[in-house]
């Protein structure tokens, strides 16, 4: 009972642990504890045998790079240091002390950002290669499956995970699919290799619940001639589910009250002593929904159309729910005033559109307009391919905003894939920015992360070396071994053919590539160093070829891995 009590401590409702019989006759006996844990299994480190060795990562200093903090700031010639899983210091190189014995990595000419966060992933639950045996993302057997958890479908050997890591993605919200009105709990993971989801789980991340509006649920069930087959059927389905959850909570509160009065009666022992009130039957799904009603479980709602998002907000008001983020949300720009006032985040794409009618009204300026209006914008992938180019997609959305004359900063664009994404997952206090005390989730880029030519050179997760393009390269999953995984190693290598002329050495970071701002003059001249091949014109039209990463120089006694 003791351990159980520790676990339920902190439950907001009426949960408390106490011996079944109170000693003092003057004090009302406490009600029995509610039997469910806070949804989502916070999985304290002590109970998770594989939890990461976050506490002991070595001291590392990334020196001389251009830092983009993830919260808007950009610092040239900066240093970031981290140790024991946490960022220690961030600032101009002159202001940041490199700890003695730290491994020093020269990142001059390169960019440093927080680890990227994908707020909408199905990796692990819809892994590659596409296989019937692995299609574990939609429990599409009934429209409300609040009882299922993506964690319990997650296949940690999904080869796509390491590709995302090699693209700088350190944290993922893995969600059930959108076949169901209420698809089940998501799971937030750190993108380090693990043997199970528990070894990858983002310890302390709040529970999340995936819901879906619009075409998908009504198509999936409508085609089976069962409910829902319409949008009104969709909303009726959410309403019934949350009413059931309210009743479920009431039933347990009633049980607690009856239990209290039963204990009171027990103080005066009588001959006809009644048995204790029996606890109501438990329901895992309703407990998750109750968690949402009580604000312990974050609602992540797949919803495209403006009017449907407003309908979901009305439903939220009906039940006192709070929506954490709308996902996909291609029409969010139409209601950005409401979304800003309600504090709802929006996770969307740069330019995916049109494949279904609810995705027809996309504008490329969606994220820029949302940011301008004060909405937390998030650029998500929903795709094992796109997750490898979150930086490029953010650059496109940024460029669209600049083109349209929307005042917007580069740092804001980076927040779409870092700090704002962290907020959508409820882990903004832990990661998503380069600030002292945050998890040491850090990416080193070969150049401006918003250039198409830049590559991820290094990734650190919780301070540990997770990816080194010039070093060990991408670690293929177990599945890939013996069937082309050697190609995976090659992906970590440089160009197969050295066709790009070397740029002038020591190029300043800002000059490495054309950066998105409109003010940037087009860099259309081919480098003068290009010599036309025999009889053929100048070979390279690319104005600013990607610059190879600056040499990584060990300093201060730090041995490089």
């Amino acid at each position: 009972m003791g351990a159980f009590c520790l676990l339920v401590a902190g439950v907001g409702l009426v949960g408390a642990c106490a011996p079944p019989v109170a000693k003092s006759p003057d004090v009302a006996p406490p009600p029995p504890a509610l039997p469910w844990l806070p949804s989502g299994d916070p999985a304290p480190a002590a109970t998770s045998p594989g939890s990461p060795p976050a506490g002991a990562s070595p001291a590392v200093a990334l020196v001389g790079g251009t830092l983009m903090t993830g919260t808007g700031g950009e610092i040239a010639d900066a240093t970031v240091t981290f140790q024991d899983g946490r960022i220690v210091a961030v600032g101009p190189r002159a202001d940041v002390a490199v700890p003695q014995g730290a491994q020093v990595i020269d990142v001059r000419g390169r960019f440093v950002t927080p680890g990227l966060i994908d707020a909408h992933s199905h990796m692990g639950v819809y892994p590659v290669p596409e296989a019937a045996a692995h299609a574990d993302g939609n429990e599409a057997t009934r429209p409300v499956t609040a009882n299922v958890r993506a964690a319990e479908s997650f296949w940690p050997q999904d080869p796509a995970l390491s590709h995302a890591l090699a693209a700088g993605v350190t944290t993922l919200l893995v969600l059930p699919g959108s076949a169901n009105l209420i698809g089940g709990q998501g799971v937030t993971v750190k993108n380090r290799p693990g043997r199970s989801v528990e070894e990858m789980r983002f310890v302390g991340a709040p529970a999340t619940l995936k819901m879906a509006c619009g075409e998908n649920p009504k198509r999936v069930y409508g085609e089976r001639n069962s409910a829902p087959s319409t949008r009104m059927g969709n909303v009726a389905g959410y309403r019934e589910a949350f009413r059931d959850a309210q009743e479920y909570g009431a039933k347990f509160r009633d049980w607690q009250a009856r239990h209290v009065s039963w204990q009171r009666k027990r103080r005066a022992p009588r001959e006809d002593e009644q048995p204790a009130p029996i606890m109501p039957d438990r329901d895992a799904g309703l407990e998750t929904l109750l968690g949402a009603l009580e604000g312990r479980v974050l609602l992540e709602i797949h919803c495209y159309r403006a009017d449907e998002m407003l309908a979901m907000l009305a439903l939220a008001d009906e039940f006192g729910l709070s929506v954490r983020a709308f996902h996909h949300a291609v029409e969010a720009y139409k209601i950005r005033d409401v979304l800003a006032a309600r504090g709802v985040a929006v996770a969307t794409w740069a330019d995916w559109w049109g494949f279904k009618l609810e995705a027809y009204d996309t504008v490329r300026e969606n994220l820029a307009l949302l940011s301008e209006a004060g909405v937390r914008g998030v650029l998500h992938s929903d795709s094992a391919a796109l997750v490898q180019r979150l930086n490029q997609e953010a650059a496109k959305s940024y460029g669209a905003g600049v083109r349209a004359g929307i005042p917007i900063e580069r740092g804001t664009a980076l927040s779409w894939i870092t700090s704002n994404a962290a907020w959508a997952l409820g882990v903004e206090g832990q990661t998503g920015s380069l600030e002292p005390g945050k998890m040491a989730d850090v990416v080193v880029w070969s150049g401006d992360p918003f250039s198409v030519y830049s590559r991820v050179d290094r990734v650190f997760i919780d301070g540990w070396d997770a990816y080194d393009r010039e070093g060990a390269g991408r670690r293929p999953s177990d599945f890939e071994l013996g069937q082309g995984a050697e190609g995976a190693r090659r992906e970590g290598e440089r160009s197969p053919a050295p066709v790009v002329p070397a740029p002038a050495s020591g190029a300043a970071p800002a000059a490495t590539t054309a950066s998105p701002p409109a003010a940037q003059p087009p860099a259309a001249q081919p480098p003068a160093s290009q010599s036309p091949a025999a009889g053929s014109p100048a070979p390279s039209p690319a104005p600013a070829p990607p610059s190879p990463p600056a040499p990584v120089a060990p300093q201060a006694g730090g041995a490089l891995p």
Partner: protein, 432 residues
């Protein structure tokens, strides 16, 4: 020049005539002349002209190069600091054949009701479904796409594609050539094993060859029973003798070799598409002189046929001497062709080859290079003016010219943006 190629170019010229692209000398005097000056010009084959001038007369380019005399009455645009490239060509997407993918009434790229995945639909032609008013076209055009090989999909044989210029005005004659290529799929047909797929493909080719040797005998009923319709046989028979190219979607390295072998046996003009494992057989593809259509960002083992997919696929194929064409394989993403090029360059593809992959190579592979693919005198004037490196994510096209006419870059999406730019002007239903 082989006779067939010569013939196909002749027929292309005839089509141009029909669409008034080639004007009679008497009309030439009235043709408008536009000049773009002070531009950096990427001609499409690697040549870079700084401070260059581009002269367009009517629908054709009349001069490209260093500044020269400007024709009288010409409309001159100084685009200092800008960059001009040939228009991109979108291949292997159903542009013009699909509006909303999940609304079957708007889809003409494949059957609206499920049929066998190894169906043969050689007789079906994209030109019969091409919708020049699709909203997707303007979105693609805004991204620098000026022509599309509008392509049906699915089935063992999907049908024939059409070459369309992404003209804005309607009515017009956007389809420059009907029946540009015949399209087939061999990897991963849900209803057919590889042996069955190849068997049905060979059977179709045999039947078509029999038919083509004597269509009259077929009409008189003197041929053995052929399973395919006359329309199917007729289209298939045009594959022979260097006629229509056959575009085969294929993924696995071993399957690529089988397709190369099949095409060699029938002396087909082959184009490989998809080709995710192409780099594993790059030498064989190069030796067969077969162009490939790839998405250079496909690096995942997305299926069991693509376990060896890797990001450097396009770069390695190009380095092996294969002519590479880029496609996103998605009509809604045609505007991202330039992003694909940038990604290919980032992992080592020669920028010159990446540029060719967007215009000259598709024009060449689909038999349209006489008129398309380069900024050169005599070519169709389809090109874009960019405010920076077109492969970069923060650059955009400031002008897109299709067949000599500057097009509007205001898509349906832009109109939505303009409507919602100022929310205070958006109606809110009842007052208050």
């Amino acid at each position: 020049m082989r006779r067939r190629e010569f013939m196909s170019q002749l027929s292309s010229a005839a089509l141009f005539g029909a669409s008034t692209l080639t004007l009679a000398p008497s009309a030439r005097a009235q043709q408008p002349v536009r000049v773009w000056t002070d531009a950096t010009i990427w001609t499409g084959d690697g040549e870079v002209i700084s401070g260059g001038m581009l002269v367009v007369t009517g629908e054709r380019i009349s001069a490209v190069g260093k500044p020269g005399p400007i024709p009288p009455d010409a409309q001159v645009t100084n685009v200092s600091g800008s960059l001009i490239t040939p228009g991109w060509v979108a291949t292997e997407t159903p542009l013009g054949l699909v509006e909303v993918e999940l609304e079957s009434s708007t889809v003409d790229a494949h059957p609206r009701r499920a049929e066998r995945s190894d169906a043969i639909r050689a007789g079906q032609a994209a030109v019969d479904g091409y919708n020049p008013q699709s909203t997707l076209l303007a979105v693609a055009r805004r991204g620098g796409v000026t022509s599309a090989v509008s392509t049906p999909d699915s089935g063992l044989i999907s049908g024939t594609s059409a070459w369309a210029d992404l003209l804005e005005r309607f009515p017009s004659t956007p389809v420059v050539r009907e029946d540009v290529a015949l399209h087939a799929n061999i990897s991963e047909l849900p209803d057919a094993t590889r042996p069955l797929g190849f068997s049905r493909l060979r059977d179709a080719l045999q039947s078509a060859r029999l038919y083509s040797r004597s269509p009259d005998a077929y009409d008189r009923g003197q041929t053995r029973d052929l399973e395919l319709s006359v329309a199917d046989l007729d289209r298939l028979s045009r594959l022979f003798g260097g006629g229509l190219p056959l575009v085969v979607r294929v993924t696995r390295g071993a399957d690529i070799l089988r397709v190369l072998s099949l095409a060699k046996g029938y002396a087909l003009r082959l184009i490989l598409s998809g080709v995710e494992e192409g780099w594993t057989v790059a030498q064989q593809i190069a030796a067969a002189r077969v162009p490939v259509i790839v998405d250079p960002t496909r690096n995942l083992p997305a299926t069991f046929s693509a376990l060896r997919a890797r990001r450097e696929n396009a770069a390695l194929l190009s380095a092996a001497g294969v002519n590479v064409i880029f496609s996103p394989f998605d009509a809604y993403a045609a505007h991202n062709l330039r992003q694909l090029a940038g990604n290919a360059v980032a992992v080592g593809m020669a920028p010159k080859a990446a540029l060719r992959a967007l215009s000259l190579e598709p024009a060449t592979a689909f038999g349209m290079a006489q008129n398309y693919g380069l900024l050169a005198p005599g070519k169709v004037a389809s090109f874009s003016v960019w405010n920076g490196d077109p492969f970069e994510l923060g650059s955009w096209a400031t002008e897109v010219v299709v067949r000599g006419t500057s097009t509007s870059l205001r898509t349906r999406q832009d109109l939505l943006f303009e409507r919602y730019r100022d929310l205070s002007r958006v109606p809110r239903g009842r007052a208050g």
